[in-house]
Symmetry: D2
Subunit: 127 residues, 4 copies
């Protein structure tokens, strides 16, 4: 099949850049595949200009219901991976999801792990 | 906490570019979050130079066992989303995963969908 | 220096996915670094939601004047790497740059090159 | 033209994720398009597993000679955007380019700029 149409769509949809450290470390934050995938969907929506997708919009890209999406979002907020930020654009109050707490959590863990490793290396070299 | 170490790791690990159409359409191929995430892990391994990760290496980045990873891989091959290709590097036979069938499947579906839409538009404009 | 602010900016600005084939092949299309960089800037603006940046906006990210940006854009359009497309959003006519001709040109060249290589391989294997 | 071959190549070559802040701010570091493009080529080589491309390999992807590439590299090292790091793999000494100084320089500038802006905002709100 000639694929002119689909290739145009592929290009128009584009790509999203995902930090490899999220893909490598989510299980150590007790995130499962469903939760991590919802975070990836949020990241994609944000990167493509929709910073506050509805549970329905998320559900349309997943195999779970909007109700389940909503409950995962609440859990992610409670656990400190996600926040809702209020901004004001032209006097209109607007809400946005922010994944900054997620990246911060990963960074903090990496920092702690690497200091621990350095410390152990130092202790070992002294014995 | 100063985050010099973790930031260096973040940069060193880098990013992986994921086609948005995969994230938007995997449910319509009857792929669930676990299966799609395994495909994303394979894509990341391949992009970063390891084109034949073991089930153990995949399992280390997931919340499922190596046995489960292996069984998902077999299912993805059977369903036509994944192939194993043999190449020969310096006379040594080597196996690689290829996600080409996955991208091809998505492209074919997009093509069919869009031709259908065009056809319906044409029919509608004629009535 | 603690880098909380700059790291937040880094994350907020995000990344843009660039096809490696553009970076590998632009000189064979007689594009120089200035022209290719302008195409990368257009690609970035489009991916981040501004599909019709002004010559001034482009110039702000480059070392060349807005006049020079405008003249490069005209040249890229004449040479068939870039088009301006008209769309209508809520009844308002809108213009967008499209890089589709660029990707199409690269694809066509790759296709021709590889068919040529295949042909030569076939001819060689027959002698 | 059917584009099966070129599309396969496109996918095989993949994408490279480029930080938007580099594309937005290189002129304020007195980097021109040629220098920034060489940095992008280095970034791409590194991300794709070749962390020490030769001036010839760089030149093959640019419109400038290998000699010119070499002289730009030396200039970038002198100006503190690039370093050469020595590592040892299986007892064999190996040299790699590192773009860490570039990212660090950009981060430091962003940090300084934003503190300056915050300071000015504070001063202004007090008058």
């Amino acid at each position: 099949m000639n694929q002119q149409l689909s290739w145009t769509t592929w290009l128009a949809e584009g790509h999203v850049s995902v930090p490899v450290i999220l893909l490598k470390h989510y299980p150590s934050f007790n995130l499962n595949e469903e939760e991590c995938m919802l975070l990836l969907h949020l990241h994609t929506f944000i990167e493509k200009g929709n910073a506050f997708p509805t549970p329905e919009e998320l559900s349309n890209r997943m195999t779970i219901t909007a109700t389940k999406c909503f409950s995962i979002i609440q859990k992610l907020i409670t656990r400190g991976f996600l926040t809702i930020e209020e901004t004001s654009v032209d006097g209109v109050r607007q809400e946005n999801y922010s994944l900054f707490p997620l990246w911060k959590t990963i960074m903090d863990k990496l920092e702690t792990d690497q200091r621990q490793t350095k410390l152990e290396d130092t202790l070992q070299s002294q014995t």
